[in-house]
Amino acid sequence: MIDPRPQSVRRRATLAASAVLLVAAFEVPAAPPAAEAYQSECGECHLAYPPRLLPRASWQTLMSGLDSHFGVDASLDADATRAISAWLEQSAGAARRDRHEEHEGREERRERATRELQPATGRPVLRITETPWFRHEHDEVSAATWKLASIGSPSNCGACHSDAARGRFDEDAIRIPKK
């Protein structure tokens, strides 16, 4: 039986207000809805690759061809496609870095080319693993290593990068399996 006396009503009201304030105080700011949608939709079959690893043109091409995504139907409804596309293009990496090329020596130019996301010629690259940047970062990994049972292919970032799911690829968090 709920106590109807005024002082008890005030006490219950104070308790309720405190509970609401406590919940509000500990609420973590939410990621933008499109970022979360990208994680949940595009992380269902493989790692939700960080958008900065491909340039905008690559993401545009990928998102306009989801019904044949590397041979598989990965289509989304129109709203999700639109929202995720916009977020990816906004969060994409720069295809080529801003440099004062006229001051670059030949060596510097070659160095820089190995770190670009977009190769110098041709259509947008669709595989992160085919960007000059990726190849440069992994140039010490042998072909045999990629084929190890626990790795399988270069697109399986999490096999060696323990923090890949959080978009972190720090050198000190790498562990290359032996088999």
Binding site: I2, D3, S8, R11, R12, L15, A16, A19, E44, C45, H46, D67, F70, G71, V72, D73, A74, S75, L76, D77, G152, S155, N156
Partner: protein, 134 residues
Amino acid sequence: MRSLPKLIAPFLLAAATAGAHGADAVTPASLLGQWRTEAAAREPFSAARGHQLFERRVTDWSCSSCHTADPRQPGKHTVTGKAIRPLAPSANPQRFSDRAKVEKWFRRNCRDVLQRECTPAEKGDLLTYLLSLK
């Protein structure tokens, strides 16, 4: 104080059930009912037909290629190796509880396996097969 649980409980209950009562929430039974209506077929759905469909290979893949021959077991994406939780509701009660998710995966996977969308009758047969696995 004794009145506190009575005060808080309704909020906790609402929060706990909010997820389950979204607009897209369904059950296997409600999906079967929907597909029965859409199929307008007079014969009931068949687990045996559903099993055959599950193993059918038109090009490279069957449903079992990723979900395994025993859908109560965890599966694995044949290309990426990503782990897939069991498909049979007896092993994974969250399956077939979200309409949008069910329709999305039927659209994609039927197109990949059968090269076309599954009919409502085929969806009904498949779910009937999965429900038969205890």
